[in-house]
Symmetry: C2
Subunit: 524 residues, 2 copies
């Protein structure tokens, strides 16, 4: 193997990753990763997107992986760099997204000294990773990389993947490498027993008092076609989790209502059901605990049937359930194409949503981090042209701009529309720069309400009434108002501000037609 005899550990790792289909690196490197960076040029097939903050890298890897169905890859710098990426790894973990993090570390020898950047990197990784490993030798680092890929591709309860963090001491990168290693296949997803399915089919046949509560990849188009058929045949209802990693929807797709976020609405939504079948989704639980309100959202009288989580073969189970109840794919009710009218007059969350529903191009990818401003976008795009819908899954705000970056890099031929709350956008606004550099086809719509509007509601919901000036100041993003067009310009992204529905439509048309990133500040 002459070709490999001069390979260092970093190169053996990069080759292992590329061969394993993990071939787009969202990176924010430092000194300890320089050999990995140098290795990028010696290996064909590894793409690389520089991110100016690690939360951008982890969120973008999530978006890329949700769209490609392959593990997303990040390159991060030591414990503090990984720390900056944790919030979006939390979201990815809750989405069940497969991600491989390569985290550079001091040399094994140097770790014995308390250098300024020394920290407990494994400790930082553990809370948001399913799998953590520190490389011990340059000869073994390719095998470590292969094990990370297998771990990332192993289904978790939440979805088809896991977070795998491989810590790469600098000497394991620059020392002599072994040959690239082919990752083992992940464990097969569990097929349900016939008896479990028969019991579920009985419950489904009871019709509208039964809810099939869906999450993970049970909401993907192929699975939804089957779920829709089962629902049409039995009368049982379908509902998705509040936050879904990826939903294909709009004209031609089986519609899926989602469990609402506000505590009282979510309790009401589940009240009608006597049986709730959990299928790729957990027993529904409130986002937060509130005084005098339950944490579990299902009514006390409902029987909970935990049929399958994300570690199960959900598609196989749906096929067999459809057979058991005699449902045919053609039975499923699908959304018709029925675009909203173009709005006129005041720009509001509702009129803006109508414009988006009307003008959304076929095959668009909507990134939804709208928070409060998004309450109209769901139903006003329900009959729009077919599109993907990616959400914030773990409640850690600041995922939208990076998720949009990753999705756009994964699908350069599609238009990504990032519906983005202003407060949340501020966490990872650096993603705009990477969007500009990558020429990413992202249209960002900033819902500029100049407040953490959701917290005004939450302040009341937790019973913290009569807020004073200091409290209200903590919920307001005004004084000074953020100028999103200037912020976008600062990062090389053109933008427009819209204060009326007509302005917004003009801006939306321009942004959708524009090649590369564009931003609209919607003053709602």
């Amino acid at each position: 193997m002459t070709e490999h005899s001069t390979m260092n550990g970093a190169e053996s790792l990069v080759r292992t990753l590329v061969a394993g289909g993990v071939d787009m690196c969202f990176s924010n490197p430092g000194t300890s990763e320089m050999h990995f960076v140098a290795g990028l040029d010696r290996v064909d097939g590894m793409g690389c997107v520089l991110c100016l903050f690690e939360g951008v890298a982890t969120g973008a890897a999530d978006g890329w992986a949700r769209m490609t169905e392959r593990p997303g890859l990040t390159l991060l710098h030591l414990g503090p760099g990984l720390g900056n990426g944790l919030a979006n790894l939390h979201n990815a973990k809750k989405a069940g997204t497969p991600i491989v993090n390569i985290v550079g570390e001091h040399t094994t020898q140097h770790l014995a000294y308390d250098a300024p950047l020394t920290s407990d990197t494994e400790g930082v990784a553990r809370p948001m990773s399913h799998w953590v490993h520190t490389g011990r030798s340059s000869l073994g680092i390719a095998a470590d990389g292969a094990a990370a890929i297998t771990a990332a591709r192993t289904a978790s309860a939440a979805g088809p993947g896991q977070i795998a963090t491989l810590i790469l001491p600098a000497d394991t990168a620059w020392g002599p490498g072994g040959v690239p290693v082919e990752p083992l296949a992940p464990p097969a997803r569990r097929k349900l027993d016939e008896a479990e399915l028969i019991r579920a089919a009985e419950a489904l046949r009871r019709g509208p008092e039964t809810l099939l509560f869906l999450g993970a990849d049970a909401v993907r188009a192929d699975a939804m076609a089957l779920a829709g058929a089962i629902s049409a045949k039995t009368g049982a209802k379908l509902m998705g989790r509040t936050s879904l990693a990826r939903l294909e929807r709009g004209a031609g797709h089986v519609p899926l209502p989602r469990l609402p976020y506000p505590i009282d609405m979510s309790l009401d939504a589940l009240k009608p059901f006597g049986t709730i079948i959990l299928f790729g989704a957990p027993d529904p639980v409130a986002f937060f605990g509130y005084p005098g309100k339950p944490s579990r959202l299902a009514p006390d009288h409902a029987a909970i049937m935990p049929l399958a989580d994300g570690t199960c073969d959900l598609l196989d189970a749906l096929e067999r359930l459809a057979d058991l109840v005699g449902a045919k794919p053609a039975d499923a009710v699908r959304a018709s194409l029925k675009r909203p009218e173009l709005p006129m007059g005041a720009l509001t969350a509702e009129s803006a949503a109508a414009a988006i529903g009307a003008l959304l191009p076929e095959g668009a990818i909507i990134i939804d981090e709208s928070i409060t401003s998004g309450r109209f976008t769901g139903h006003l795009t329900a009959h729009a042209a077919p599109h993907d819908w990616l959400q914030i899954t773990g409640g850690a705000i600041g995922i939208g701009p990076p998720l949009a970056l990753g999705a756009a890099v994964a699908c350069p031929e599609r238009k990504v529309v990032n519906l983005q709350a202003d407060g949340s956008a501020m966490y990872t606004l650096q993603a705009l720069w990477s969007q500009a550099r990558a020429g990413a086809n992202v249209l960002t719509v900033i819902w500029s309400n100049r407040s953490y509007a959701i917290l005004t509601g939450e302040l009341m919901a937790v019973g913290a009434s009569n807020p004073g000036r200091k409290a209200l100041d903590m919920l307001s993003l005004d004084n000074p108002a953020l100028d999103w067009v200037a912020l976008a310009k600062g990062m090389g992204v053109p933008g427009l501000r819209a204060a009326s529905a007509e302005d917004f439509i003009t801006a939306l048309r321009e942004g959708l037609a524009h090649e590369g990133p564009f931003l609209i500040e919607a003053l709602i």
Copy 2:
């Protein structure tokens, strides 16, 4: 105690903090912290600065604490929010800064369910905290807060404080509170034995072959006056750690050279010494491990005398050492006032530094996150008007803008000058908005070299030679160039761009005269 009978846990905690001198809260709150937020208005004396990203809150708390010598305070939201703050907590930990983090958490009951925002919050806290505790009851949360203050005020090896993280389940905030609790005094710092001091005095008397290697609060003005006297009397040399939390310098202060960052320069700097006395500083160690280079920087022939770390009473030790060697404070050599000439012509890192040295107002606070662009600022401000100098201490970039915010809030009557590398500024640029809202008197100078310039050197230093296009792309911040004046405008901060020394001087004069934040993009 009628006054307290209706107090909830949150209010008892806020009152405990204020009474303990922890009275400026840098916050990024969410739902679980709403009662703490509401409590701010019910308690006099607690200031509050909203930060639009948690890394801003933690860095600002560090800056405030370095200037006030009291614990800085943050309010953060759950595990992911704390994760966003970890990098600057890492820097604060390495600085020995006292910080109390209040991290909101789900209610105790709700934690049993796997809600979207549930994570291992203690696990996230631990790597960057000396002390971690989760509140168990609303009646006990004031005592928990008092314990956090005591922990924060306990000296660590690195300096006068520690990182204390108190996790606040929402029900411990909204449940009935007890009375506020007065924190215990922290343990007294250890006084050195006479025998240790006598041995050190002997080494010092050997003159210039002995180095007194300084860190922690041994570099503060009162301590430096004594160290300078000892050096003048004995001929022993003084040197500071590469990164110092806070150094008072310029005209009238005892000058302190610092150990250089580049590995070869740091090895050369220590080569002359036969004895190195560690005084508030660890055995000097390289920032990173490099192939074929040692991790420890002291020459093999040098005797290392670990006299005292930050947990010792350093001022007492210096007083007694001065007595032992017969040094009088008046012996110390102090820097004269000798401002550089105003530069003309090209704007370079050197000419810009000269302009800063020439125009720096007395009592300014310099925040130094210049990275490569700062190689001239140290000596070109050495004879400037007296000022404080605060540095990035843990190597986790993105501390400058928040540190400047915190220092400015602590010292509203002083001008803060943040010398800021562009790549590092991008991590926490949200701090500019908080500077604008707080009217913080911060002049930010962005060294706009449009690259991670330090990594170009590091790529060579680790032997990753002949970088290709992909590698070089990972080190460049160009394409598109960041427009810092637009970014500042977007956050409500006025700014100017300077491309010549004359432009820079004009902008500097305007920025120094301006009340409130101002930004200069220095194209170097």
